[in-house]
């Protein structure tokens, strides 16, 4: 259909995809690449990159930064993808029902999404994670909870506008049932914006997860990029790599995801060329 070609044409999208796949590879291969986990002490603290054969140096406790970065990738990707899948799942369901059936269900959903848009979601997230006890699960649950309204809003909008399109009206006139109409007529046309917003959400989720672990609200038993930055605060002034490297990893991952998202957007909406 030309979609793959349109996507592959954009250099930024290709670059983003390549980087992202590389990071996924590192994350998956971390236990194979490194014999010891990220918490084991390998030498003196605050060794600069290159010293003692440490690719990225060591942190305040003398742990191998490179191992930490690789394992951190696992956490970021896991949280990012898991919370996106959950948020998208809930969001699509709610948005579809509200957009297609309208009425009080739609009114209710609109109130809920407005509510979540207005209240400071990060503060709510802090409260939730703090109260549920910081862990991987509570992070994913929390991010899912504050993100699904965004997806629901977009899906609702799409369903609403598609439902009014003449080919959907035609399907009703032909006698197709609601489920068949949603599945064969509406969803395939609503998929592009859902895909695009999902790729954006993964990036956002990674940023949010790192913010939470920076503040000490991440899983205390797991090392993530955010907690690496948080732990390096005291050493930042003398050992720049303890802060710069994990942050750079976050930035590159999110940037890659945003490039992919932009590429998908352009490939799926060839009209929106500017």
């Amino acid at each position: 259909m030309g979609f793959t070609r349109r996507f592959l044409c954009r250099p930024t999208a290709m670059f983003g995809l390549a980087v992202f796949l590389f990071i996924v590879a590192i994350a998956l291969g971390a236990p194979l690449l490194f014999s010891r986990g990220p918490f084991s002490i390998v030498g003196m603290p605050l060794l600069p990159p290159g010293a003692s054969g440490l690719l990225a140096g060591s942190d305040v406790l003398g742990r191998d930064m490179a191992v930490g970065l690789a394992y951190g990738a696992r956490i970021s990707l896991l949280v990012g993808i898991a919370s996106t899948v959950c948020a998208a799942g809930i969001g699509v369901l709610m948005g579809a029902v509200a957009g297609y059936y309208g009425g009080w269900v739609d009114d209710l959903l609109m109130r809920v999404t407005e509510f979540f848009q207005i209240i400071p979601s990060f503060v709510l997230l802090m409260v939730l994670v703090a109260f549920l006890q910081p862990s991987l699960a509570s992070t994913v649950i929390g991010i899912t909870l504050v993100t699904w309204p965004q997806v629901a809003r977009v899906v609702r909008g799409e369903f609403l506008s598609l439902r009014a399109r003449e080919f959907v009206q035609a399907a009703r006139v032909l006698g197709m049932g609601d489920a068949a109409i949603i599945a064969t007529q509406i969803l395939p046309n609503a998929l592009p914006p859902i895909v695009v917003i999902s790729s954006m959400i993964v990036g956002n989720a990674i940023l949010t997860e790192s913010a939470l672990s920076f503040l000490g609200l991440g899983d205390p038993n797991l090392l993530s990029w955010g907690s690496m930055i948080g732990g390096s605060r005291s050493a930042m002034w003398v050992a720049w790599w303890t802060t710069v490297l994990p942050g750079a990893c976050i930035m590159i991952t999110v940037l890659a995801l945003n490039f992919i998202g932009d590429g998908l957007n352009d490939a799926l909406n060839p009209r929106a060329r500017r």
């Binding site: 003449e166 080919f167 035609a170 049932g177």
Partner: protein, 528 residues
């Protein structure tokens, strides 16, 4: 010497467009105090020619050859600033959709005064006074200068546009399809206004249109364009009476005649009976105080097999709402819709589903009525499949149905975007006919099509109706189209039926004033 002399104008399009040149070697003269029409279908280059005179070609489109002489000065070779000074002062232009053409956040008084002040050193107060006078001349004296465009009707907005255009007494007024987006009665008023102004101010007018009826009413001379070239031009009477080019003949022949062709069908076996149908719309949510609009008010009619009943009305008349209530895309608030003996107006969807086979619909917008991600074949068999028909059998019938509407079976594998508007309407018709309905509702099926294609699709609809002995309900805003294809006609206004009867009777001797106004507004009724 003519006021405007376009000589050999060639305008090129950016790469990736469906052809290289928008116009090719176009030559045209506009005399002083003359009304010239350029007529053509979509993609003919008529609009581009008009924009080229104003120097308003869109990005990527440029005039690459020829001259446009305005009073002896070649506009194409003028520096940008000199051209800007001419715009609005020597040459003015009005566009097709007045809602989109007016800045939504500026009051109309300001929009007029802004143009005056762009060319003359006057204070805001003086400019506003002039604006008030101009708007009064256009028949808008009652409207406040502080009104916003969205508060006005379509006709009023176009009058504002005209007031703006005339504010500095230009010598040339370019009107790019100025009435296409307006109701028929409003259209007649605006065209009359333009003619009146032209006489009063001794202006030249260049009128772009796709409707030969408008040409007949308005133009002193006409140029016919096709695929970027002028195929024929000359005095209107000459071109109309004695067209030399085949395309011109086709265009003139394609204009639906205002004279009815079809006798009423005797012995109608009513298959649809609408009784006291009422539909109201309430806008806003729980806390809104917006009043309800009554879209349908106690409407009753019958439709029989073998006949085509036209429902004619302007926008807001309720004709589309009527169609949608009959086919249950909307739920009526009161009244009956009897499909032979069964009242389907308030039936639940489960009971309604099997009955849906018997009433089908052809929609208005060919670019929105087919699922862009489904092949034509899948779209065609979707209906039969939903009613339990075997896939292979449905596919076989689909191929036959395509043949019936004049398309080849290879179309089955293709996607909608590969087809033109006319072809898509044929596919939409095939889709509706796949269920072998008894009733076919056609909701403005040709309004979005070019005139020559319109004629073909209308003929197809008529043939299909006869062949399959359908009862057809034909919704349209165009009386001429109704006359062409309908046996009987119902005229609607503000949700009520104003008049109904056989097409012949209504056209020959309309009873209500409104119908008379509708008929009088038909462009070119006398000349054609």
């Amino acid at each position: 010497m003519p006021l405007v002399s376009i000589q050999n104008l060639t305008v090129s399009l950016p790469s990736g467009a469906d052809r290289a040149l928008a116009t090719e070697g176009v030559s045209l003269d506009i005399g002083r105090k003359e009304i010239v029409c350029i007529v053509g279908e979509s993609g003919s280059g008529k609009s581009i020619t008009a924009h080229a005179i104003m120097g308003l070609l869109p990005r990527g489109v440029a005039a690459t050859g020829g001259n446009i002489f305005f009073d002896g000065v070649d506009l194409l070779r003028q520096p940008a600033d000199a051209m800007r000074r001419r715009r609005g002062r020597d040459i003015a232009m009005i566009f097709q959709d007045p809602m989109a053409a007016l800045n939504p956040v500026l009051a109309i008084g300001k929009q007029v005064s802004e143009q005056i002040r762009a060319h003359q050193r006057v204070s805001e107060t003086q400019a506003l006074k002039q604006a008030a006078r101009l708007l009064g001349e256009m028949g808008l004296g009652e409207i406040s200068l502080k009104a916003y465009p969205h508060q006005l009707s379509g006709g009023q907005r176009q009058r504002v546009m005209i007031a703006m255009a005339l504010s500095l007494s230009p010598r040339l007024l370019i009107a790019d399809e100025p009435t296409t987006a307006l109701d028929v009665t409003t259209q007649a008023q605006i065209l009359k206004l333009i003619k009146h102004i032209q006489t009063m101010r001794e202006m030249s007018v260049l009128l772009i249109t796709h409707d030969f009826g408008v040409v007949a009413d308005m133009a002193d001379s006409v140029a016919v364009m096709r695929h970027g070239k002028i195929v024929e031009s000359g005095a209107t009477a000459q071109v109309l009476g004695n067209p030399s080019h085949a395309y011109t003949r086709a265009l003139i022949a394609a204009v639906p005649r205002g004279a009815s062709q079809l006798p009423p069908v005797s012995q109608i076996r009513p298959v649809i009976q609408v009784k006291n149908l009422t539909k109201r719309f309430r806008r806003g949510g729980l806390f809104s105080s917006t009043p309800t609009t009554t879209a349908l008010d106690d409407v009753s009619l019958t439709l029989g097999r073998g006949e085509t009943l036209g429902v004619v009305g302007e926008s807001g008349s309720g004709k589309s709402t009527l169609a949608r209530c009959i086919i249950r895309l909307l739920d009526p608030d009161a009244g009956e819709v009897r499909l032979e003996d069964v009242d389907i107006a308030h039936m639940r969807s489960a009971a309604l589903r099997p009955l849906r086979r018997r009433i089908q619909m052809v929609f208005q917008d060919p670019f929105s009525s087919l699922n862009p991600r489904q092949t034509v074949g899948d779209s065609l068999i979707a209906g039969p499949r939903a009613h339990g028909e075997d896939v292979r059998e449905a596919r076989r019938r689909a191929a036959d149905m395509l043949d019936l509407v004049g398309l080849s079976p290879q179309v089955l594998q293709r996607l909608p975007h590969e087809f033109s508007g006319g072809q898509r309407q044929r596919i939409g018709l095939a889709r509706a006919l796949m269920l072998r309905p008894e009733v076919l509702i056609a909701d403005e099926p040709v309004s979005a099509l070019d005139v020559t294609v319109q004629a073909q699709v209308l003929k197809l609809l008529d043939d299909v109706r006869r062949q399959m002995n359908l009862a057809m309900l034909f919704i349209t805003h165009d009386m001429r189209v109704a006359a062409q294809i309908c046996h009987r006609v119902v005229v609607m206004r503000h949700g009520r039926i104003v008049e109904q009867g056989s097409t012949r009777d209504i056209f020959a001797a309309p009873a209500s004033d409104y119908t008379k106004a509708l008929l009088a507004a038909i462009p070119g009724r006398q000349a054609l």
